[in-house]
Symmetry: C2
Subunit: 596 residues, 2 copies
């Protein structure tokens, strides 16, 4: 059976030492999250994840969800109780506004807690994740009445939330959506249509579900400009806030999926369901983007989280599994064979995974801090810069962390040999669960197009310029520091690759958009590698400084070694990515469609 331990030490290194979160005590909520409070919260989150959520992970996989003939959906044993504990423990509102029952703490803390919970039980974690996303949208775009009616109940875990975009004929291209909304004389709308792939669309965890639904109001323009967002509760709500009868929404079926069996993925049929407008008519896409952007970061964290739990289990197995002898002669002479962790190839796999995990976690913390700054700073310039960073990094975090997170889950599984292929050991579940994160919330190819087609050029390239400047400045500032030269010099090479590829895109992508499309995925990975490399350089510097101060500490030593591994073996991939980008679109556009 797989196990999980929340990486508390690593998180503390990031929050306290690398990003020195206490510097931001001037921001609302940050001073409430003093080092002691943070430690207490993270310890509780670790305990809840390890002891409540993790044991339900394989239960969820094996039992899955059941749709009954009357349309009710039952979640796996134990999920209901766990969700109740989430609500009562205040986890859903950790960084939500106090006005609606939240604790107002930094979103950075929430993201770290999310990682723990997703590692412990990804399928379960989707129920609170979608609920948090729906709350975030309502808090920005909802009417005062919508906020007051929905949010406190959601924050308490009494109600849940969902996100209804996809229809059979449209996923990426929402302009094609057909779900209709008809305005009623009382100002409400009647919604009719079919939505598919709705995570948590129906469940038995909460007494109500607030569906956020994209639909087209009668007579609205065609395409993306005629889409509005509605809040459609599963159970209609009386004026006093109590529940009236069921609304016109039902679960037509649930999907049989490769993984995340514990989460119900529903076809939802809306049949004159009563909803209220969120934001303005025909402005649904921008409202939905609040939810999507938060969700995209969260999905990136899923990639990291599955990579982390897969790593932990592979490392344990590698230390315990006795098989063969070291190339350099027997190591465990008293045993029938050596543990496989003595093999360089096994260590190479483990180092590759952890070198990613630790840098990816830093990237998540860094980006989450920017999100806090973007929302909480009182300095407009600081908010703008943070918002630029978020816009630029969101597609990168989503796609890079899920691509590599999945690949890492596969590598971890590989270390178990045949035992990794059977359900019993539990590692194949990590692979199946991690797979979805590359797909939903905008498939990774779409993230790459978002980065290259929209984020790079926005505001004259302000965001990418700031990013490159920050990394270059760090490199220059530390160029003379010999102790961290093994980190700074590869980072410098990688930033040159990023600059060259950005330049190539400007010169070749504007005139011929296919060149940008052809380069997009390679560019995103190149960019992401540089971002991870920058995280490693910063972590190495801090670890080096602390070692110089306080002397030998195994965890800091491990940081330096792991960072060196990243610089030697992983970061050089940027030059391969650059050469692919520079190859252009010609050879992939040449064949006619029927030749494929």
């Amino acid at each position: 059976m797989p196990t999980y331990k929340a990486p508390l030490e690593d998180v503390s290194f990031l929050l306290n030492d690398v990003f020195q979160i206490d510097r931001y005590n001037n921001l609302p909520g940050f001073s409430d999250a003093s080092a002691d409070v943070r430690a207490a919260i993270l310890n509780e989150a670790a305990k809840f994840s390890e002891q409540v959520l993790q044991p339900l992970n394989s239960v969820g996989d094996l039992e899955g969800c059941t749709r009954h003939d009357d349309g009710r959906v039952t979640t796996p044993s134990g999920f209901k109780n766990a969700f109740k504990q989430m609500g009562e423990g205040g986890w859903l509102g950790l960084s939500g506004p106090a006005e609606f029952g939240g604790q107002g703490l930094p979103a950075t803390l929430s993201q770290v807690v999310n990682e723990f919970m997703i590692s412990a039980n990804m399928a379960f974690s989707l129920y609170p994740a979608l609920t948090q996303g729906a709350m975030a949208t309502l808090l920005v775009y909802g009417t005062p009445e919508q906020k007051q009616t929905f949010v406190p109940n959601m924050m308490a875990g009494k109600w849940a939330g969902t996100m209804n975009l996809t229809e059979p004929q449209c996923g990426t291209d929402l302009g094609l959506l057909r779900t209709k909304a008809v305005k009623q004389t009382d100002g409400t709308y009647k919604i009719t249509g079919t939505k598919i792939f709705i995570s948590g669309g129906e469940q038995d965890l909460t007494e109500n579900i607030i569906h956020l639904v994209l639909a087209r109001i009668e007579g609205a323009p065609a395409g993306i400009k005629g889409i509005s967002l509605f809040a459609v509760p599963k159970m209609t709500i009386k004026l006093d806030g109590s529940l009236a009868g069921p609304n016109g929404v039902s679960c037509g079926s649930i999907e049989h999926k490769m993984g995340i069996h514990g989460n119900s993925t529903c076809v939802l049929n809306f049949d004159n369901a009563v909803g209220t407008l969120v934001s303005q008519e025909n402005k649904g896409m921008s409202a939905m983007f609040v939810m999507m952007n938060g969700a995209r970061l969260g999905v990136g964290v899923q990639g990291l989280a599955q990579s982390e739990v897969a790593y932990q289990n592979a490392a344990i197995y590698a230390r315990e599994r006795l098989q063969g002898r070291a190339l350099t002669g027997s190591q465990a002479k008293d045993k029938p064979a050596d543990p496989i962790i003595i093999h360089p190839d096994v260590r190479c796999t483990l180092m590759t995974i952890r070198a990613f995990n630790e840098a990816a976690r830093a990237l998540v913390v860094w980006t989450s801090l920017k999100s806090d700054l973007a929302h909480r700073s009182d300095d407009a310039k600081e908010r703008e810069a943070a918002d630029d960073h978020m816009g630029l990094l969101t597609p990168v975090v989503k796609a890079l962390l899920t691509d590599i997170g999945f690949a890492n889950a596969v590598s971890a599984q590989q270390m178990f040999g045949g035992h990794g292929y059977i359900a019993e050991t539990g590692v194949e579940q990590f692979v199946r669960d991690a797979r979805i994160a590359m797909i939903y919330e905008g498939a990774n190819g779409i993230q790459a197009l978002d980065l290259v087609g929209r984020k790079l050029g926005r505001d004259g390239g302000r965001a990418i310029t700031a990013f490159v400047n920050e990394v270059s400045t760090f490199s220059k500032d530390n160029a003379a520091n010999e102790a961290i030269a093994p980190y700074i010099s590869p980072l410098g090479a990688s930033i040159k690759d990023l600059q060259q590829s950005t330049m190539w895109l400007m010169q070749n992508g504007l005139a011929k958009p296919d060149n940008a499309g052809a380069a997009s995925t390679d560019y995103l990975h190149l960019f992401g590698l540089v971002a991870l490399g920058y995280m490693w350089a910063r972590m190495a510097k801090v670890a080096q400084d602390k070692l110089a101060e306080a002397g030998e500490q195994p965890n800091l030593k491990a940081k330096l070694v792991t960072g060196k591994f990243f610089m030697e073996r992983m970061l050089p991939e940027t030059s391969l990515r650059l050469s692919r980008i520079q190859a252009g679109a010609a050879s992939m556009m040449e064949l006619p469609a029927e030749a494929f």
Copy 2:
């Protein structure tokens, strides 16, 4: 529902034009396989794969195998009938000796047929594959009596075969195996022990199963040197060849696995089961290697086959799925959106998969031809060279084709968006099925160690020297041919990377074996890329020559474009692999085991 069409045109291009198989008409069996006969056989194989096996693929996945309380195992609906057809159609003995009921045709033809069947239904294909492997071993190492009793029944599909190596405490390291054999006065042995992960260990397809079992004879030396191989029939056999009662072997349970559900993966308990010695006492490993080497090539083909069927379905979907508009403006103005195949990123995925598939298929044909030469040539020098090639290429084909084949199945699934994650579309099955091929028959890390630790240095590096010479000579011979310069010059760069990394290994791996271990997987991939690049250069030359002769032909044009894509975007990975190899083992060996 997924579909499959056997790539007959591509196979014909390889057999007839690139490798000109008719040149080998002096070898036994080859003259029987004239162009007409080959075409007829391949057409039949295509029909059988497409019409009989493919429709059973998702049936097998959904139903899986069932073990009954009495130990019997039922395979999915339709499997029994399909296996009967395989036997009656002569597919099991296509390249087997006529003396035992086979058709004696080239093994090259068998491998091509295997690809079709695996693409159509990988789980099913394991039953005949293991049977063929067992026959091959018996034909080389069996006594005349064993051959006569077992092989004709297996070739006819009346009996099946299995391969019993793994035990709970040993997979890779067979020296740890505990299954015991006790010699009886009549010359037979009684076998007792537990074997796990036995593919087709129990099933309802055949009336008998010949288990080839590794065991340790009482008093034999410890470790690998004390292992013998036995043939243990499920049902004991009377002198007249008819079946007597059950032998002491039973299926204790079947595994619940990530994929290949249609194949029964059994725990087999041997309890004083009567077996006969195959080969000599304590020489079991070398006998088993006959089976393993054949099986390793076959598993490599599994990687290709799943990549091929995944590609085909993704290409169809990409042509049909309407979503969004081309970056360069609408292409299908009469439709609500353009087919997604207009997007460079989608094409990049498709081109990446097919550029691999077509070169991998060439590599399989090339290597299979060497296998035919190694077994059938009357020229000792030619046999030796072919055998060198086989030894060198077997781990490469196994690991490279399954690593990339799996990655391609994942990429193909990605193109389906959310639809790729649900069972209904069938593509996620390709991913789950393809995953096992990286693990069994020696996990890919073991293949890399086999290549670097054993195959490279063997006979003073004769095999790698011959390989490098062949590729270099081809490059030189075609250096002046401007029409194929886009293929020759990248190939030249990649062969330099291979030479440099081989040199590095010789200089750094012998003194410090950890350097060889650390380099092994990167070296295998570098080597494999060069081999695929060589295949592309050869195919491009032939395509170019044919085009010059016969004028415009779309499939030859597609070859040239696909090969160019490979050269521009895929082959340059060799330099990344080289830089990783040269990084050495230090950073991965530095941390103590407990730091992981």
